[in-house]
């Protein structure tokens, strides 16, 4: 019994619940927001540390042995994801203190944030496929509510697509779980894997068919090609702190789920399923990055790039070699921090200049060079330039791809890296280097601009951005420990037997 495993779920749940109960007092909610995410961060680090030491951490909820009760499982991959979620959560909570309008706080901003995190952590830690569905729904509905907070027209239009397509994905997931339950009579993922390991080869085909349902459902959640439509339709519409949280976490839950089921459960016909995944990865990388090239709005560019980077992560899974999985895990770690940070930077730019439109922006490097540096670090990292975090992420994948002989995929990955750089440089050129526009295209006057660049609230912008930038640098400059972590995590992913034994106590 390891209580650490449950804490990253229960802490945000409890803080969310208490915040809901204190819905009248925004001051309490703000405090709870920072303390709660801070506590989550602490608990997640404790969890990661313990998992690193002990391999797998198991908690049988309600003391009911697996596969009967719900088992929480922390393997290294899950624990890493939890830490990343907590980091993103804590950063956005700080950022929200200054960036979220007071009237939104009245309508449940902080409780929604906590519960979103609870859903995300739940998804990362559960060892039960139906429970995974439940956590998916928790984070999804929390994201629905966060998405519409503000009630702008664009939010509504975006939300309709977001909600509908995600609902479709959930129903698909649920249906797949139902069919899988009918087939195996169990819900515990380790148990499913164990049982599916015993069936004959002729019947493996049926399992593969079911796995396609999971692939499509998680593909939607991960915003993979050709299932990504909800993301560009909506991610640029909510509060930027919310966008950052979404960008960092939501699609990654889909990716996590793909990693989980396609390493643990559906490994019967790898050459078939993972070839499909490889196609998905390549096309996802390409469409995402191409989508961004035509955009001229800060957040839209970032949104499209999420898609292409999802492709990289799936590539790691699709190649299915130890190194490729390391690359996938490493890429996820890098991406969550960097992508969330870029959204935070976009919000800072908006705070300073009142616009997200590249055409209306400019002159920031002249006025505030440090903001430029805070942008460049995550932006160049996103493009995979060394020695930042994204470089190693990309390098591992490319190396794994070349060692596997996946020439086309590697070619696509390289090209996409170049185009990502192009997009980031486009932002850099327009927002920072270009002189601030004057006259009609300028959203604000010079006086208003200089007024905007003052204010104590700005510290709550700089603090999380700088913190995440430092993390990006650390991951890049001291990649070895991170690599070892990813390597161990990937090793566990490739050893379903170890997972099964840890959860069920049987050695398949």
């Amino acid at each position: 019994m390891r209580p650490e495993v449950a804490l990253p779920i229960l802490i945000p749940l409890l803080f969310g619940a208490v915040s809901l109960a204190f819905w009248r007092s925004q001051r309490v909610q703000r405090w709870l927001g920072v303390i709660g995410t801070g506590a989550l961060l602490w608990s997640s680090i404790v969890l990661l540390d313990a998992t690193r030491r002990d391999g797998y951490l198991i908690m049988h909820m309600g003391d009911w042995a697996g596969p009967f009760g719900i088992v929480l499982v922390s393997d290294l991959f899950g624990a890493i994801m939890v830490v990343l979620a907590a980091i993103t959560g804590f950063a956005t909570a700080l950022y929200s203190l200054a960036s979220v309008p007071r009237e939104l706080e009245k309508f449940g901003y902080y409780p929604l944030m906590h519960l979103l995190l609870a859903g995300v952590c739940g998804a990362f830690l559960t060892g039960d496929i139906f429970n995974l569905y439940v956590w998916f729904e928790v984070l999804l509905v929390a994201s629905f509510a966060l998405l519409i907070l503000g009630g702008e027209r664009a939010q509504m239009e975006g939300a309709i697509k977001y909600v509908t397509l995600n609902l479709l994905s959930s129903v698909l997931f649920l249906s797949a779980v139902g069919l899988l339950y009918g087939l195996t009579g169990t819900l515990n993922m380790a148990d499913i894997a164990w049982k599916l390991g015993q069936i004959d080869d002729e019947q493996a085909g049926l399992v593969t068919v079911i796995s396609i349902l999971f692939m499509v459902s998680f593909g939607i959640k991960a915003a993979a090609f050709p299932l990504f439509f909800w993301l560009p339709a909506s991610y640029h519409t909510p509060q930027v702190a919310v966008s950052a949280l979404f960008a960092g976490l939501l699609t990654k839950v889909g990716v996590y789920a793909l990693f989980r089921v396609f390493t643990l459960i559906f490994t019967q016909e790898v050459e078939f399923t993972h070839t499909l995944l490889l196609w998905m990865a390549g096309l996802t990388m390409l469409t995402g990055v191409l989508g961004a090239a035509a955009q001229f709005e800060f957040r839209r560019i970032l949104s499209f790039h999420i898609i292409s980077q999802i492709g990289y992560m799936i590539l790691g899974l699709a190649l299915f070699t130890p190194l490729a999985l390391v690359g996938g895990v490493f890429y996820i770690m890098h991406h969550i921090i960097v992508k969330a940070n870029l959204f935070l930077v976009s919000g800072l730019v908006y705070r300073l200049r009142g616009s997200y439109e590249l055409k209306e922006l400019g002159g920031l490097y002249r006025d505030m060079p440090w903001v430029g540096i805070l942008f460049l670090i995550p932006a160049l990292s996103l493009a995979g330039l060394p020695p930042l975090s994204g470089f190693f992420a990309k390098f591992i994948l490319i190396r794994a791809g070349l060692e596997t002989g996946a020439w086309v995929a590697v070619g696509v990955a390289l090209l996409v890296g170049l185009l990502t750089l192009y997009s980031m440089i486009k932002i850099w050129g327009e927002v920072f280097w270009k002189a601030a526009p004057a006259g009609e295209s300028a959203p604000e006057t010079v006086e208003r601009r200089s007024e905007r660049s003052r204010g104590r609230d700005l510290y709550f912008f700089y603090l999380p951005i700088a913190g995440l930038a430092v993390l990006t640098l650390i991951i890049g400059l001291s990649a070895q420990p991170i690599y070892v972590l990813a390597e161990t995590a990937a090793g566990q992913l490739l050893d379903p037997a170890g997972y099964i034994e840890a959860v069920l106590g049987v050695r398949p």
């Binding site: 209580p3 619940a17 809901l20 204190f22 819905w23 309600g62 003391d63």
Partner: protein, 143 residues
């Protein structure tokens, strides 16, 4: 426009049915562990009761009869549900391990006080609070 229908028959029936439905919902809540029922079903029945009140007597009466703002209910309910999983940890058991504290009340038999019961009560409160928040907010927006 008012949210209720201007009907004496409906109003009177509402008055009469409300306590009936509420007591029925508590009944469903408490026996759910043994017979069909439980926090969720009970909560829905209670919410239906208030909805009936809303239709027959209007939003103001419905809010009055509810006495608390439904928005308080789900926060409290959720807190209760989460907390009901915590006591086990003090017994060195996993979260949500059920704890039973049977209380013997001579004429009535045994009251099975337990964490699952508190959990179910939490569920009940959340359901009532959520459904009513949705229904009442919508009804208010109409007028």
């Amino acid at each position: 426009m008012k949210t209720q229908m201007n009907s004496l028959i409906l109003r009177t029936t509402g008055h009469f049915l409300l306590p009936l439905l509420l007591i029925f919902s508590i009944f469903l809540l408490l026996r759910g562990h043994d017979e069909p029922g439980g926090g969720f079903i009970a909560g829905l029945v209670a919410a239906a009761a208030i909805a009936l009140y809303l239709f027959s007597m209007g939003i103001k009466s419905a809010r009055q009869v509810l006495w608390v703002d439904p928005r308080n209910l789900f926060g409290i309910g959720l807190t209760l549900a989460v907390l009901s999983g915590v006591p086990a940890i003090f017994y060195g058991q996993a979260f949500f391990t059920s704890q039973w504290w049977p209380i013997y009340l001579p004429p009535f038999g045994t009251l099975k006080l337990s964490t699952p019961l508190f959990f179910d009560i939490g569920v009940y409160l959340v359901v009532v609070g959520s459904v009513l928040t949705i229904v009442l907010t919508l009804a208010e927006a109409e007028g």
